[in-house]
């Protein structure tokens, strides 16, 4: 089952479960909380982590996701073209860039796919690079599909407490 198909099935299941729980007497907020946590774990971007990196600035997080969605598609296209022309060094540089962007956003699957493409091209392992590109395309498709949910999640999620411990501000 493709990643995007899995996502659709899981979302339908979650909404169904949420409805049942609400009907069975759980408070709607509990149900929403349960489903929010579950949805978060399936998203292409680790939103709580991103919110922490943005120091809780939700507008910034939303802008970054929207920009990343465009950038990922552009880079995916460039990687595919360069790979078809066997320009492995160029592919490696593009994949390196996507890896960095994905890492900062907390887009872990896209980061892993980019890292595989980069490593495979540095070692001239063309079949591995082609396979990793196919995975990247699937995960990018998932990212595009999830955009509305991701944006909604930015508004409702809490920053990851593990990344939220900051040094004290000093007087300047």
């Amino acid at each position: 089952m493709s990643a995007s198909r899995k996502w659709c099935v899981v979302v339908n299941f979650l909404f169904h479960t949420t409805d049942s729980k609400t009907r069975d007497g759980d408070s709607p907020s509990d149900a929403v909380s349960i489903s929010t946590k579950a949805v978060e774990s399936l998203l292409s971007i680790d939103v709580p982590q991103l919110l922490s990196r943005c120091l809780g600035n939700r507008d910034l997080a939303r802008r970054l996701i929207e920009r990343f969605q465009i950038s990922t598609s552009e880079l995916e296209g460039k990687i595919e073209k360069a790979l078809s022309e066997l320009q492995l060094e160029e592919v490696s540089l593009l994949a390196h860039r996507l890896k960095g962007e994905a890492a900062n956003l907390g887009a872990n699957l896209i980061r892993e796919n980019s890292a595989s493409i980069e490593d495979a091209c540095r070692e001239s392992q063309l079949p591995i690079a082609v396979g990793a590109l196919a995975d990247l395309k699937q995960n990018n498709k998932l990212l595009q599909e999830q955009l509305p949910v991701l944006i909604q999640n930015v508004a409702t999620s809490d920053p990851d407490p593990k990344l939220s411990c900051l040094p004290k501000r000093q007087p300047r």
Binding site: L60, H96, K99, E101, N104, L105, L163, L166
Partner: protein, 340 residues
């Protein structure tokens, strides 16, 4: 503190800027190596965060460019990278980077690394500022030559020797020696306020003139104390004040300005007194020729317990050879007749 960020990924720039601005930094960004290079040339930035791979010039090339230019003001460079291999770290450090930040960056880590950079920059600025101030005071009295360079070296040698004595173990550590080396050149800072007619007078001073000259201790301490009030975090000024105020006190209580006795005189003042007198004795002055090292040692030994703390004189006798080496290295115009 102005920080320059260079990265071709606008998302990285926005995230870094958001964190740095939240902590009160003034941030400028460049989207490629060429723009970063031209902004660095303005001299406005002391901290530079650069992506490794960028169009125009890479982070490594920018690092090399900064170090090759040998700028007066040190620029602290942090390389931002997705590399985590040892090879990458070595390459970065060789090109002149000071630190690394790996993507994805953690805001807390970013801030503590920036603060480490600020500490290094402030140390450099602090030392330069203090020594320039001291040189300014010294510039009015040309005859003292490399007096400040010698004084700070003498006090360092003395403090290191003293730290070998058990009773000073807990007082004199590496930090104390560093501070003493840093602040001792300010001992005569108050002389900037003494009139030329007194400061530069050839021959002996009258009683009235000597009273005026003595005020350089209180004037220097007052000036430094005012600076310390404005910058309470500058703890090193406390030692500078003590030295300026007490380096003419005598162990027997007959010194000036406050006639302090024995251990009432701060240790840094007692150490500087020995170094200052040794340098005055072995240097030419408008009113006298230079004494030989042996004569200076004799006078300091004679004045142990009266002018000087006997424990410091003992330490001085233990390291007098090094004093002589420094005196000879940092020539103190002994070409004129050396008085026996």
């Amino acid at each position: 503190m102005k920080i320059l960020i260079a990265d071709d990924d606008p998302n990285t720039i926005d995230m870094l800027t958001n964190t740095l601005e939240a902590f009160g930094y003034d941030v400028t960004s460049a989207c490629d190596g060429i723009e970063a290079s031209s902004l660095l040339r303005t001299g406005d930035y002391r901290i530079f965060i650069s992506d490794w791979q960028m169009p125009g010039k890479t982070g490594l090339e920018l690092c090399k460019e900064i170090r090759d230019r040998g700028l007066d003001n040190y620029i602290y460079v942090i390389l931002l990278t997705s590399f985590s291999s040892m090879e990458g770290v070595v390459q970065g450090l060789e090109s002149g980077a000071d630190d690394f930040l790996t993507k994805p960056f953690n805001p807390a880590e970013l801030i503590v690394r920036i603060r480490a950079g600020e500490r290094i920059i402030s140390l450099e600025s602090r030392e330069m500022t203090i020594f320039s101030l001291a040189k300014l005071a010294e510039s009015r009295d040309k005859e003292t030559g490399d007096h400040l360079e010698r004084i700070r070296t003498y006090v360092k040698i003395l403090a290191e020797e003293l730290s070998k004595q058990v009773e000073f173990h807990d007082i004199i550590d590496g930090e104390y020696v560093k501070l003493l080396y840093l602040t001792s050149p300010l001992h005569d800072i108050g002389k900037v306020a003494i009139a030329d007619s007194v400061l530069l007078k050839p021959g002996r001073l009258t009683t009235e003139e000597f009273e005026v000259m003595k005020t350089h201790t209180t004037l220097g301490a007052q000036t430094l104390a005012e600076v310390a009030t404005c910058y309470p975090s500058a703890g090193y000024l406390k030692m500078a004040i003590d030295i300026a105020l007490t380096h003419h006190e005598r162990y027997d209580g007959k010194g000036y300005p406050n006639r302090l006795i024995g251990d009432e005189i701060p240790l840094c003042g007692r150490i500087t007194a020995v170094a200052d007198v040794y340098d005055a004795l072995t240097s030419v002055r408008v009113y006298k020729d230079a004494y030989s090292h042996e004569t200076a040692v004799e006078i300091i030994t004679r004045d142990s317990g009266t002018h000087f703390d006997p424990r410091i004189v003992r330490a001085f006798l233990g390291c007098q050879d090094r004093f002589l080496e420094i005196k000879n290295q940092l020539n103190c115009e002994t070409s004129r007749t050396v008085m026996a």
